[in-house]
Subunit: 385 residues, 2 copies
Amino acid sequence: MAKVKIIDVAREAGVSLGTVSNALNHPEKVRPDTRRLIQEAIDRLGYTPNQSARLLAGGRNTAIGLVLPRLNHGTSLQVANGAHAEALKLGYDLLIATSSNKRDLERHYLDYFMGTQVAGVLVQPAEIERWQPYPHTFAPTVYVGVHSDEPGLFVTADHRAQGRIVAAHLITRHAERVAIVGHAANQTLRLRLEGARDAFAARPDIALEVLDAGEGDVSGDGYSLGHQIARRRADERPDALLALTDELGAGAIAGIMAAGLTVPDDLMVAGCGGNPLAWGGAVSLTTSAPTGYEVGRKAVQLVVEAIELKRAEERASIRQVRTTMPRSAAPLPRAPLAEEHEPLTHHELVRPFLLARESTGGTGTVTPLGTQTALIPELNLGVYL
Amino acid sequence: MAKVKIIDVAREAGVSLGTVSNALNHPEKVRPDTRRLIQEAIDRLGYTPNQSARLLAGGRNTAIGLVLPRLNHGTSLQVANGAHAEALKLGYDLLIATSSNKRDLERHYLDYFMGTQVAGVLVQPAEIERWQPYPHTFAPTVYVGVHSDEPGLFVTADHRAQGRIVAAHLITRHAERVAIVGHAANQTLRLRLEGARDAFAARPDIALEVLDAGEGDVSGDGYSLGHQIARRRADERPDALLALTDELGAGAIAGIMAAGLTVPDDLMVAGCGGNPLAWGGAVSLTTSAPTGYEVGRKAVQLVVEAIELKRAEERASIRQVRTTMPRSAAPLPRAPLAEEHEPLTHHELVRPFLLARESTGGTGTVTPLGTQTALIPELNLGVYL
DNA sequence: CTGAAAGCGCTAACAC
DNA sequence: GTGTTAGCGCTTTCAG
């Protein structure tokens, strides 16, 4: 049971150590039947390469680290699943750690990942309002779910587009008086609001009002607002509500119905953001689709791109050193790192699409909840729906 | 930006390499002010220890690997969260990987973890019906959610106790005719059924029938069975339904109500297994609590126990070699591993508790859903409820 | 393809 | 407490 190492495999297969190493890392350099011999020895002995040694010696790590603030929130889960799917596809392993939404734990895992020489790292920062990129990142790093003016790699849902798309939908549904509902205290909601305004800007004939829903932007706020609106005189009442979150939207529907009106006949309601947790109401809610899965996929694509670029550069710089240096004497000085170019910068906004459902009188475009996953496999809404 | 290493820190702090290493791994061996000096140098330089080198050189890894079949199912998430909390508490890091419910990916990540010399590994196997422990595990391994006759470490929810506890509850609610509903095709459901039978065994006066719900044990099966039962003549009708899954239970409630009876007045219904996903119905469902969180915690406790035992043994065996060997000549032969004792064996069954709610006429013991998390913090039902 | 050898960055043992 | 050094298991190179 003593740990079996590469030399044991070599002996078992009757080849040299270097050949086994090559079979593992550069199979094309080893004759197929030798390769088979080695593979058999590996299986017989139950050999598992020591990743530490492999990495230390300069081997390529194929693991990507992902630091998530939580493991119980819909969005993070979607990100994780999307990232996992894409990593698998691209031949990378994905390792997930949770920061419990604490900056120091986040930092800890980031350092840990860097220390294990992962190929790249994805972070969905905790406390996103006051946040900034980490210095000292030796592996390509992609930030998920945040904006920043600093250089770097970022992937976020396009919140502005979410507002726009939902607003546009209300317009096609012939809304004439629209109330936008929400507190818009944070960046996300502000962007959705702006997006909605953008969409309505082209239609000055549509009456617009913005109603603050109270600090929380939670279901209860939506309920009371919905109730309140439903009790206005018919000629002062909007015919459509655009809630800046799905929770608000779901709450509003309940409030409206409690006041004796019907959705969508008396009043249309649309949510925003695609939060599956708020989809359980009596009338299914029109909203923008959740984009977490796509965000996760994009993040992996970006980080892999950066990883491979970096490797190409390293190879190039090594080659350069070789041809430049007189191959002689003295240990080679450390190959100069490809010049300290600025980190890549790329802000990727993931575009939402619309889920038109009952609350806006959805017709042909209604996507019934039960079959969602089947219809839009990429969405991966998950079992927890 | 060239990677800073321990020797750089040593120079920066004006001490020797060994001292820095000690400061990091055995702080008690270094004078506090020296330690401070070193810490400052570390911060100034942004030093991050190379985990690969550290491990290769025999350092202690504090990471535990967790392989989960999915990242979107309630139970796995609970396990992950419980494991994370406990690992944090015990000073270990937790790294999570997903097998997409495939044996080969599971195997891959397991090997990967072993290769990175994690301190221990937790696995919730995919395809649990036909399953067996892995050989060649060099790190302590705990299997989650499965039974086995092989030696090893296992943590599972006590399914039998779940059946028992729910059955006992129906008894205290004065059920006189009970129908147990479910197909019991898999081990889990069979155990719940046995548990329920155990509980009723003491009360031969209670009429018992078992109704097969159809292969799927899904909500729809529950619905039709509930409907069917509700339409029996009152004197042939059970007064209580014990569904072997919460999905069945929730479906049954809907079916009963559709047939014009009320729950719990005409017919009590209880579920089993504590599946939050099935808790959305009109009448809240009595069930046994989900134990995933506790399973995760227990699993970490077990693996850490095994890790520390193993370390203690290694220390002991090294000491033995030292005192035995004449300290002289020739490189020491590899310290004989503590004799190849059988792997530890421990089957831990996590006991459920009851969530008595409306569907069985819950009274004082009813735990309102909204406040669940607050009342029972250990439960950690998660936001997705 | 083989065989030998130079590290990768660090820990732990040792002598001081 | 400090400074020095021998590996940990592997990848890579280099000369056969």
